[in-house]
């Protein structure tokens, strides 16, 4: 049953061939079996899940079921869940029981999904390997010596091992697309403001966006149908109508213009990954799409721009963790300053502290203009590159990552090497445009992803384009050994 997609399970549930309780029990059993090896979950909410499953079955019996009623899912532990520990992968919030639901959680509950638990993640979503989690690193089901990507690495590992039918993630600088690419999954980051950030623990507020990591594009469309849309409680959430993303999945893509940015094929790109991209583009040509050479001349500035903007915003956002109202407090503080400093010094991990200090520095008196103001200008240049490209093409395509999954511990000593892993994904966050990754093949036995970037609010188009690719290829159906 675990190999079925959300779309397939939805039909089986509707036909009465399986109950949500049976499904939920079978996923909980899989979690019990594989959690020790993968460490994909921080919290498993077994009792709540079974109760929600029974409720879903009752709703169905009463004829009140929707497409997602009874579907077992997992939430990234960055989303607040009423009455359930919400740690954000940090010692700082190890004791935090969220007093309310994030909008994403609330909407998925309302749609009848069953939450199995909260997935592991890099601490405060800062990382590309899931090695910065207070709860330990997560293992990639394709090779447990490799990282599952990050920061949504618990979601990608859980989904790759089929420990849930669908998962959520957040993407500030690639944290949905990169882990999806490294685990053979479909990762979708909507336009900035498309999904409410209310109750999603803030990292860099001008970049953060919630999305999904699923087995297929169709499943992503089904979840996006529920989580996208206006929310008064997030002042950056955009009040634009939400189309039915599943309705246009099968639309004809003949005549589609695909922009291929030459900057995506730089020296850092692994030759075999480049070949996979070329193969994927050939599939698109055979479906009637046209390839157009485009240039994003300032894309090379995206990682340094990101590593000014994101730490600056993080240093501000994370100042709320002060050991006073919630979260970790040091023992026996002798003064208020001692309380602040030791609570934060002991409660945050090394990468979070590095970013807070980087952010504090670039915002400090005398340096603001040289770093932050300059980065907001280069950010504008990067955005203008994307806007110019979309005057001539429908979507952009390229690799999601320069290489397949790297080894656990391989890059954790060098922040710059780790940061450069996100070279192709940071741009979409800086510009605010939607981006996604779909499975496009394997390099030495490890999966790699095709990145598709769309214009603002072009989610339906992107899902259509990606879905058609999954109709022509079967990469997304491959499962890691031992999890079939």
């Amino acid at each position: 049953m675990h190999t079925k997609t959300i779309a397939e399970l939805s039909k089986l549930l509707a036909a009465g061939e399986v109950s949500s309780e049976e499904l939920t029990r079978s996923y909980l059993e899989r979690i019990r079996k594989h959690q020790p090896a993968l460490n994909a979950f921080i919290t498993v909410t077994e009792d709540d899940a079974l109760e929600a499953a029974k409720e879903a079955d009752l709703l169905r019996k009463n004829g009140q079921a929707g497409a997602l009623t009874g579907i077992p899912i997992a939430q990234k532990d960055i989303f607040c869940t009423d009455g359930v520990k919400t740690s954000c992968g940090s010692k700082m919030l190890d004791n935090f029981i969220a007093p309310y639901d994030a909008t994403v959680v609330e909407r998925m509950k309302r749609a009848g999904t069953v939450m199995l638990g909260k997935t592991n993640m890099d601490e405060f979503a800062m990382g590309s390997s899931n090695e910065t989690s207070f709860y330990g690193s997560v293992k990639n089901p394709w090779d447990v010596t490799k990282v599952p990507g990050g920061s949504s690495g618990g979601s990608s590992a859980a989904m790759a091992a089929r420990l849930a039918a669908g998962t959520t993630g957040t993407d500030t600088g690639g944290s949905i697309r990169q882990p999806a690419a490294l685990t053979n999954l479909t990762g979708f980051k909507p336009t900035y403001g498309r999904v409410s950030r209310y109750g999603m623990i803030a990292f860099a507020s001008s970049l953060d966006q919630a999305g999904t990591i699923t087995a297929t594009v169709e499943d992503a469309a089904m979840l996006l149908n529920v989580i996208a849309g206006f929310d008064e409680r997030d002042s950056t959430c955009v009040n634009e109508p939400v189309p039915d993303y599943t309705a246009t999945l099968d639309a004809d893509i003949r005549g589609l213009k695909i922009g291929v940015p030459k900057e995506f094929f730089d020296d850092g790109l692994d030759d075999k990954v480049a070949q996979c991209v070329r193969d994927a583009l050939t599939v698109y040509e055979s479906m009637g799409a046209t390839l157009v050479d485009v240039s994003l001349p300032n894309l090379g500035l995206s990682v340094p721009t990101y590593y000014v903007v994101a730490p600056a915003e993080c240093s501000s956002n994370l100042s709320r963790f002060d050991g006073v109202r919630f979260g970790y407090r040091c023992e026996n503080p002798v003064s208020l300053e001692d309380l602040y400093k030791r609570s934060r010094g002991e409660g945050f991990g090394a990468e979070v502290k590095r970013r807070i200090m980087t952010g504090t520095y670039v915002l400090s008196a005398g340096y603001y203009d040289a770093y932050y103001l300059k980065a907001q200008k280069t950010r504008e240049l990067i955005k203008e590159d994307f806007c110019r490209a979309f005057e001539n093409v429908d979507v952009l395509m390229g690799p999601t990552t320069p290489t397949a999954a790297f080894g656990i511990g391989e890059k954790s000593d060098d922040p710059i090497t780790m940061y450069l892993n996100d070279i192709y994904v940071n741009g979409a966050n800086l510009a605010g445009v939607p981006g996604m990754s779909v499975p496009m093949g394997f390099v030495d036995g490890l999966p790699v992803g095709l990145q598709i970037i769309g214009n603002y609010f072009a989610e339906a188009k992107m899902l259509n384009v990606a879905h058609r690719y999954q109709q022509e290829t079967d990469w997304h159906t491959k499962l890691p050994k031992g999890f079939e």
Binding site: G193, P304, Y307, D338, T360, S364, P415, L430
Partner: protein, 95 residues
């Protein structure tokens, strides 16, 4: 852009972070390298470019100043390290 250990201590103080003495040299090295790395932005020609305020050029939405949430102090304070009679307790600030 080489930071000194004293720079790191002063940044850590601004951020209200206690950094162990033994970790100062690693942070000095890491932060210097990060700042060196982002320094390449200097070379970008941004003459006449307005700094981005919002990716969608939106302005902040406003709402009427009405009470929309009810008091849940007791519930929220369940997450607090130390409270008394509805107040958050911290070490004595004024002697």
């Amino acid at each position: 852009m080489a930071l000194t250990p004293d720079d790191v201590k002063s940044i850590a103080h601004l951020a209200r972070l206690e950094i162990r003495e033994t970790d100062i040299s690693a942070y000095t090295d890491n932060l210097s390298r990060i700042l060196d790395f982002v320094k390449q932005l200097e070379a970008a020609d941004c003459d006449g470019v307005a700094p981005m305020a919002h990716p969608l050029d939106m302005s902040q939405r406003l709402r009427a100043d009405e009470v929309i949430e009810h008091d849940q102090r007791d519930r929220y304070q369940q997450n607090a390290p130390q409270v008394d009679a509805g107040l958050y307790l911290v070490p004595k600030v004024i002697e």
